[in-house]
Subunit: 104 residues, 2 copies
DNA sequence: CGATCATGCAACTGGTGGGTTGCAGTCGGT
DNA sequence: ACCGACTGCAACCCACCAGTTGCATGATCG
């Protein structure tokens, strides 16, 4: 996990995957359980879960004979921090240029 | 612009697009200028810029006979806020469940 | 200890998106 | 007014990915 930013965003750039993520944010669920409430096959969901786990957005929790998954909020918050850093950096650089320009 | 989250992340989930974004975060550049320092054609870059503009991550600035682009940091910071909200929400829900469980 | 239910693996399909090339249009400076 | 440079549009190619079906495997509850 902890891949480069574009990889994580690619994982987040899919409707179905978001659907899965938000459900896992509310409560832990197995792949089969998710398959019953989503309009796609269990195997499709399994692939999505693998992709999400790959970038550390989701965690597998073996429990009895099924494997439940939970969303990792801390990962998302960490991303948020990085994004905010970049965003303010870009804007402040712009502001600095503007300030310099206004001196003439 | 201001599309749903998956769409924005899909736009961010590409190496080339991220490369473009970070460069535009440092200074305004035209599509042709970007093409000289990136290993892809100008038309490819134009498509990426259109995609980025579509979700409000980039802004077009007509200037003379060329069109310069700048990255919009505020958009990124806005995303960060949403992500952090979701992340902490997930984790706090988890904590709440854990708290309830511990009462037994 | 056996039947069941959930996961895992493999092969295939369709569609979408990143990339390219070629050409037409248009604006600007000398 | 012309030449050069930058942009926009269109058609095409190719690779990757979401999704499916089918089957094999294996652990668990009764």
């Amino acid at each position: 996990m902890n891949q480069s930013l574009p990889q994580v965003f690619a994982a987040l750039g899919d409707e179905t995957r978001w659907d899965i993520l938000t459900r896992l944010g509310a409560r832990e669920l197995s792949a089969s359980a998710l398959a019953t409430e989503l309009p796609v096959s269990r195997q499709a969901i399994a692939k999505h879960l693998a992709a999400l786990a790959e970038v550390g957005l989701v965690e597998a929790i073996p429990s009895g004979r099924e494997i439940r998954y939970r969303a990792i909020g801390a990962r998302l918050s960490g991303l948020a921090t990085e994004l905010d850093r970049l965003g303010t950096q870009w804007d402040s650089r712009l502001a600095r240029i503007k300030t310099i320009a206004e001196r003439f």
